[in-house]
Amino acid sequence: MIRIKSLALASVAVLMSTAAFAADKPLYGVLMKTLANPFWGAMEQGVKAGATAAGVEYYLQAVESDQAAEPQLNTCNTMLERKPAVMITAAINSTILLPCLKKANEMKIPVVDLDNNLDPDITKKAGVDIAFHIGSNNEMAGAQGAGFVVSKLGKDAKGPVLVIEGLSGNITGKHRADGFANELKKAAPGLEIVASLPGDWDRGKAANITNDILTKHPDLVAIFCANDGMALGAVETVFAANKGDKVIIVGVDGNSDAVKSIKAGRLTASVAQLPYLVGKQAVENVKKILEGGKVDNVVIVPTLVLTKDVIEGGKEPMMEFVK
């Protein structure tokens, strides 16, 4: 074991030999979107836990907002200057980081797609090699959300449903919304999606959309939002319209604000992404690769539907990963 470790260290040292001086522990580069979202905060905790367990250093950077695409590309290029052993990246959109990731490939630095932000077709077309994609399956998460709505309303239920998507063009949000729509159509055809609009991951925008659609469809039965931030915006609007007990609202992520809101009986449910587990498993799998092991190209981290019962029941073993 020790020999394997020192072998890995030696290979990393070779990689870093052009740097001014090599660190004694392998340095994992981690590039996130922004830390201004509890989701990424939880993932950072997971990365930290994984790195501590694996005995590696990590160098984590993020940009000021999850729309700062070009700054993220610039930060990525800068990070390569420190010649990390790996680049674990959560790209703001599916194209922005490609030039930098290509450069990482050329420098023989493995690239990990954290939280499935890259489109495998586009990366292939661009000639970028991804060691593995890790994250929850967003379509499955959306489908789980639809399954929960149907379990509450029954498969013969009828009524209008609103879907609030993520940022236009972002595939994470698109997959969640698509997964939800497809499953809903299958499981309860009577529930009709009357609008599916981009909320741009923005709480305020989601609140406005909800307001507009509630005006048009006062009998709205359910709202699915592609993340918790937007779901929390929708919740406020629904409660302000005195419809808190009539509309089921489901978010995705399971972040701490959402958990608070669910406990308070406001948000109905959130399909928890377990970002802590994603971060931890990302580091664990990277270590495996650097030591010469094999990892599936797509690593799926399970999701969990959080409701008041699940959170307060204390019977769900996966709750320990909800941060």
Binding site: Q67, A69, E70, E81, R82, T95, L167, S168
Partner: protein, 337 residues
């Protein structure tokens, strides 16, 4: 200044300092203070991070400054004329998306990616200029309106509001190529800056622009066609935003409708750190480039040191305020002496 001759016989330190300052101000059109700040910043980063001082990192900084740099040139030209262009970032997003749509979606030959980007930018700038001079709507309002219009158009052009990926190789070369080992965007930035510097500092067009920015009434009285000049400036500003859009598109190999959000403010910040006045009459492209580099070095260095982006924003905000404070301080001193 008439006292300079008398004092020259025995120059003291302060006097020498002022002479050097004067040389940089008049000959190079660059504020000496901003150069010193840039040098200090580079020295500090070199000491703090072993990864800072290298050719590849230096090129990284320039590459990261390329789109903002081109926008900052546009901001400098417009600010010098006491105008304001808040639509720069949105027009940049629209231009890149339009250029990519023509080639990738409509299947036109690759030169249309370039023509489309520059053309869309020029058109947006032309509309700005017409509305400001003919309809007499304040520049702030017109360009704020264009900020929304251009962004909306960009999102409409792009299918589902997503990025248009996959441009032909000659276009991508403009963003990812490396003639003589230098990234193409850096080459484009440097050439554009040199041309714009000549334009603003040495040409009649530039003198008229600065005169108009200093005192519009006086400029009009000397026979300058203020309205026409203003229209030209806004069209030029839009075209430069188009160029920034083109660079961005080529760099990421995609027309991204969300490119350049709030870049206008970053561009204006670079111009002001470089010594351009928000109220017109004073501006230098080389100064602006130094302003942009100060921001670029700060960001790059803090990234290398793994400092969170929130602190970077604080640092840049502070540099902006400090730069203007130094300016005010100088101005007061000059007025007193």
């Amino acid at each position: 200044m008439s006292t300079t001759d008398i004092k020259r016989s025995q120059p003291n330190l302060a006097e020498r300092w002022r002479n050097v300052q004067f040389f940089f101000d008049t000959t190079m059109r660059v504020r000496l203070e901003s150069l010193i700040v840039l040098a200090l910043l580079c020295t500090a980063m070199t000491i703090l991070s072993p990864f800072f001082l290298s050719l590849s990192n230096f090129l990284n900084i320039l590459l990261a400054t390329s789109t903002i740099g081109v926008l900052a040139i546009a901001a400098t030209l417009v600010l010098s004329s006491s105008g304001l262009d808040l639509s720069l970032g949105s027009v940049m997003g629209l231009s890149g998306t339009a250029g990519a749509a023509l080639v990738v979606e409509a299947g036109w030959p690759w030169p249309f990616a370039i023509a489309g980007s520059l053309g869309a930018g020029a058109l947006a700038g032309y509309v700005n200029g017409q509305l400001i001079t003919r309809a007499r709507i304040p520049a702030f309002i017109v360009t704020l309106g264009m900020l929304g219009i251009a962004r909306g158009l960009a999102l409409i052009i792009a299918p589902n509001g997503g990025a248009i990926y996959g441009l032909p190789d000659p276009v991508v070369y403009l963003g990812q190529g490396r003639p003589l080992g230098i990234p193409s965007p850096v080459v484009i930035l440097v050439l554009t800056a040199l041309f714009a510097h000549y334009l603003l500092a040495y040409s009649r067009f530039g003198r008229h622009t600065l005169a108009m920015g200093d005192n519009e009434g006086a400029a009009r009285a000397t026979g300058i066609n203020v309205e026409r000049l203003r229209r030209t400036l806004y069209t030029l500003s839009g075209t430069l935003a188009g160029l920034a859009g083109l660079i961005f598109m080529a760099r990421v190999n995609a027309g991204d409708p969300t490119a350049g959000i709030s870049y206008e403010l970053t561009a204006i910040t670079a111009a002001i750190i470089g010594g351009t006045s928000l109220f017109g009459g004073k501006g230098s492209i080389l100064g602006t480039m130094i302003g942009a580099l100060i921001m670029g070095v700060l960001q790059n260095g803090l990234n290398l040191l793994a400092v969170q982006s929130y602190y970077q924003q604080i640092a840049i905000g502070s540099v902006l305020i400090l730069a203007v404070y130094i300016d005010q301080f100088q101005a007061t001193k000059e007025r007193k002496s």
